[in-house]
Symmetry: C2
Subunit: 364 residues, 2 copies
């Protein structure tokens, strides 16, 4: 292998593929990135056996070839490099990097030992605007279960129906649901559960990418493709819970209020809920009151002005579940809805109907 490329392109390519690679894998090749010439470009690949990432960068290929090298080492080396261009060449299992005054050999491992990243060959199933998808993921992905014993809710549910994608994430105590308009309506509906880790990687690698994300499916895999990058992941096998039946249709109490005011009030109260995470939220005609108390720390009561309709109401919530939602909404105002101290409450951004968040009160 021999090729010349710019440092910036190489850095960008390494950024995309490096995040899924570990550094302490007992199978050494899993700590590595595969570099391979591919139709006049350099293809970089990484995998953790659950997620695979491929990306292509431009370069002047002078000789075909391939090698895997430690992800962390080449990443740190290229990040530090002050030069504009890099000449890469492979001899046996050594990668040479030459650029101006910098002469470096990195020991690698044969490309033949690198796990095969599955290919998803079908035509694109659908397309989504990448900024829209990124926003939708930021409003949902954190709500999924961290508990690996419930595999089906440890992923993000994706239901494609005609011109829409419905995203959902839940851990059974709270639920985030987001609708996204597809750029290319689907001909046949489809449901899938994508591992949270895959969705987090997709979110991070998408970064400030503009343009379209193409989605491909096989029986057991999903592939997201944008710019010059592909993320391939296994799907989670199982039935996603029929969560829509628990979304209340009607509420008894509604309060429209400033997201920042509510956030500050919850954070103040959180300091007085050091062990339980429990804060009490009360709504009456004067507004919303947030309070918490602890025998050791003390107590806090904060009034938040709100436009309230309906009955007065009080319930106890995990403040982290409230903040997770508020921290990920862009709107300055939110609507908070309640039924009673044992039924799901709801948060939605004011003036937008493609998102809802449901949170269960804590039974004391």
């Amino acid at each position: 292998m021999k090729l010349v490329c710019t440092k910036d392109n190489l850095k960008k390519g390494l950024f995309a593929v490096s995040r899924v690679v570990g550094s302490g894998n007992s199978l050494a090749v899993l700590n590595n990135i595969l570099l391979k010439t591919d139709q006049g470009r350099l293809k970089l690949s990484s995998t953790n056996l659950e997620i695979g990432v491929n990306t292509w960068i431009g370069g002047k290929v002078e000789e075909e070839g391939a090698l895997t090298v430690p992800a962390r080492l080449i990443n740190e080396y290229i990040t530090n490099l002050p030069t504009d261009k890099v000449t890469m060449s492979v001899k046996d299992t050594t990668l040479s990097l030459e650029s101006e005054n910098y002469h470096t050999n990195i020991r690698g491992l044969s490309s033949e030992d690198f796990p095969l990243i599955p290919q998803v060959l079908d035509e694109a199933y659908t397309k989504i605007d990448s900024e829209e998808l990124r926003k939708a993921l930021s409003e949902t992905v954190w709500a999924s279960s961290q508990n690996e014993t419930q595999p089906e809710i440890s992923g993000i549910f994706m239901a494609f129906e005609e011109g829409k994608l419905r995203l959902a994430a839940t851990d059974r105590y709270r639920l985030a649901e987001r609708m996204v308009v597809l750029d290319q309506p689907v001909s046949a509906s489809r449901e899938a559960i994508v591992p949270s880790r895959t969705v987090m990687e997709l979110y991070k690698i998408l970064g400030s990418s503009k343009g379209m994300v193409e989605i491909y499916f096989s029986e057991t895999q999903v592939l997201f493709k944008f710019d010059e990058t592909e993320i391939i992941s296994r799907l989670i096998d199982g039935n996603y819970p029929d969560y829509r039946q628990i979304i209340p249709k009607e509420f008894k109490t509604e309060a429209g209020l400033s997201k920042d005011d509510l956030t500050h009030a919850l954070k103040a109260a959180s300091l007085f809920a050091p062990e339980s995470n429990n804060v009490q939220i009360s709504v009456d005609k004067d507004g919303v009151t947030v309070n918490a108390s602890s025998a050791q720390a003390g107590e806090n009561v904060t009034k938040v002005s709100a436009k309230v309709t309906g009955e007065k109401n009080t319930a106890t919530f995990n403040f982290r579940y409230m903040l997770d939602c508020l921290n990920n909404l862009a709107e300055p105002k939110v609507v908070f809805r309640m039924i009673n101290d044992a039924s799901p409450a709801q948060i939605v951004p004011e003036g937008r109907d493609n998102y809802l968040y449901i949170v269960m009160p804590i039974k004391l």
Copy 2:
């Protein structure tokens, strides 16, 4: 106690005193900050029994009093508070904080249980411009020993002689020395060893402070006073090593080169010195060459252009010791001087003669 003050003043005061407070002390009052009305202002104090910090903020005192409250809790509470003003009042051992819609009680401990912070009553021994002092500390403090079994070199040496302060820090493998012009010459020379932790706190609390730092001494204590803040610390008992005798007077080789070029070269080499930290530096008429190799990772050689005089020379250094110095110099160019592979080498910023750094080569 009752007083009204601005949130910003309180936040600033808490910042100054909070850094020395732990949160897991078995003696609970050491996790706390002492709040005390003092001649029409609020005095905030903290101590870890080695270092004490006092700071004063303006406020409208309506009733005298004092209480200690958990540092972390009040800090986080005030940092989050979106209001402009805070009314504080004490009843028994509870501090009430009232501001607009926020009503909070924090459980504290009696001010009588708070350790006495020693007073250093003498007149100011000398004065130093605070920006000058901060720069001088940034160039030296990290060079002191982390090894508590050598208490005298775990501190920063300060020698006041007429119109100058000489600062030194060493761990026996490297040495940083900095001269600072005093704003008020001393009438009697004095030497002291100040704990590194004290100097680090001073450095951080100094922040962007302008104006003068006054220095006071007692037999066993030093006090730094600036703006509305005092840091009091014990001194380290012992004799600082007579380090000046090991500073070479003459060198065989001198290379003037770009600080950034040398830094990049050292960082590139560091990736190929994962266990030993050893990098080889060679100087000849063509410039400076930095290289490292490891059986596992590979090898790197970087040429750095330099203006070289004297003999050619090669030695091995701990790259961290080189980078510690380079990372803390503001100048774009440095001068690197060598004798041989067993004698101290030197780094100085080009065009400034109040600083020198000595580093021992590694014997292979």
